[in-house]
Symmetry: C2
Subunit: 294 residues, 2 copies
């Protein structure tokens, strides 16, 4: 089934890129600021979050027009977080996905403002969406702001910086990842189900599913950092471990990390089953994420 | 009438501070992140934006519960912009309102994240407001994100940095100020009128009024920078001119700037008259802003 997922991802990646470019081209803003926003949005990546949102929605509805703005908003928020995380005062990274980071390609002030711009504009995109009801817009903005704000992603990034150069427990590690990565993945799946008009019970099970999916994603990230191939990843392998960052392999050993991953795959699929989602694109995405090599 | 306005401002400043503190205390977030957010929110200032929002609303309704979240969200967005503007990569300021800037009191990473957190949380506050209709929430978020995003405040800050050390025309200068300051002042007045259920014609005239009010605010800021008193302002006097920044007095001379201000005061009051707003708190605010000494 991997090629079905492959086609699904490629098809929607292309649509997303076209739509994102179009939205930005329409903005009446300073040219360099637009260039900086586009630079990071065009850096590619897996587009995992918007693809998850669309896949979740497609369990219930077919016409994707009503999810496009939300999917783009989500990718913009993810992109803003990468731009800010890469800044010298934060993770201080020069490269991301094999390209110069935003503040290296432009400058720090531009990178900070491009991030602020993407974050702010993402809420405008949802509020301006002409394909969904006001009540859905409000629900989406409530969920997205909470998932990406101080109680979500921003809080996770703060804890992550705070955890550098000190040993944290596996419980603390999972909390950091849940906030930093898991909350937005959960939003993706919940938003798709919400716009697709899933039942409250289906949404509950999908939230469970998303929780485990987030942990699988992070464990695989950590495993790849140990065994991955530098060129494929676009960043130096072993960089997390050199910084004495807390990772699953550091805390549990490589085999221990792989065992944890298997357990979470089982739990994710059990939750998906309860939402009647086995055999859908979401199941293939679990396998894709847990086996990906970059 | 100055003491009536004085009482109005003081009364609402106190309410706003209490409400902002309460909102933040309820957040389940890392202690230092919360401290950094509170630090800048408690740094005081004129609270001009939320006070304008409330004053505009009070032209039409009395009970202020329906505007509190929007007023707080607006002040949080203003505060985030100050935190990010003060960063070393931006204006590189060590002091603001006589206190250390956020990145000096904490560190740069914390300041970036505290800003991101305030920005994101402000949209959550409006989306979660239980006192207003979904249709109003959507309209407010649309206006606020546009006013503070790349087509508004963020775009203005980008142009402002870009204009440093070069001469710009009076037209370019007004555009920068309109984006950087005017758009949020306009939001304040429009949001109050919207929640207060003003007519579309009243809202139109108030937008005109807000446009001139923003320019008056900026001219007075520039004038104070030339003649102001260092201790009162909490920052070194003449700092803008030393940096060769474009200001009204630099472009028009001190007398020319004062003349421009008088012209804009007349236009602001004419627009306010058409919205039936003469004799209200908004008129006193024009006088307050154009005569303020800090």
């Amino acid at each position: 089934m991997q090629h079905v997922l492959h086609d699904f991802i490629n098809e929607h990646k292309a649509i997303l890129q076209t739509e994102m470019d179009k939205k930005l081209q329409h903005l009446d803003i300073p040219a360099t600021l637009k260039e900086a926003m586009l630079y990071s949005l065009q850096a590619g990546g897996k587009r995992l979050r918007p693809v998850l949102l669309i896949a979740s929605y497609k369990m219930y509805q077919q016409d994707t027009l009503p999810v496009m703005n939300s999917a783009i908003a989500l990718e913009m928020i993810h992109t803003y977080s990468l731009i800010h995380d890469d800044l010298p005062a934060m993770d201080d990274d020069d490269y991301r996905r094999g390209k110069l980071t935003n503040h290296k390609a432009f400058d720090e002030a531009t990178a900070i403002l491009a991030g602020d711009a993407l974050l702010t504009y993402s809420f405008e995109l949802i509020a301006n969406d002409s394909h969904i009801l006001d009540t859905h817009k409000v629900e989406l903005i409530k969920e997205l702001s909470n998932a990406s704000g101080p109680e979500g992603m921003v809080g996770g990034q703060f804890l992550d910086l705070d955890a550098e150069n000190k040993q944290v427990s596996i419980h603390e590690l999972e909390n950091i990842h849940h906030l930093k990565t898991g909350r937005l993945l959960t939003f993706a799946i919940k938003a798709g189900a919400l716009i697709g008009q899933a039942t409250p019970s289906e949404i509950n099970h999908l939230e469970q599913f998303a929780y485990y999916l987030g942990l699988i994603f992070q464990i695989q990230d950590d495993i790849l950092d140990v065994i991955g191939d530098a060129e494929r990843m676009g960043k130096p392998v072993g960089s997390d471990s050199e910084l004495q960052k807390s990772t699953y392999p550091n805390l549990l050993g490589l085999d221990g990390a792989k065992e944890f991953k298997q357990t979470y795959i089982k739990k994710a699929k059990a939750a998906l089953d309860k939402a009647n989602g086995l055999g859908t694109m979401l199941e293939y995405i679990v396998d894709y994420i847990s086996q990906r090599d970059h």
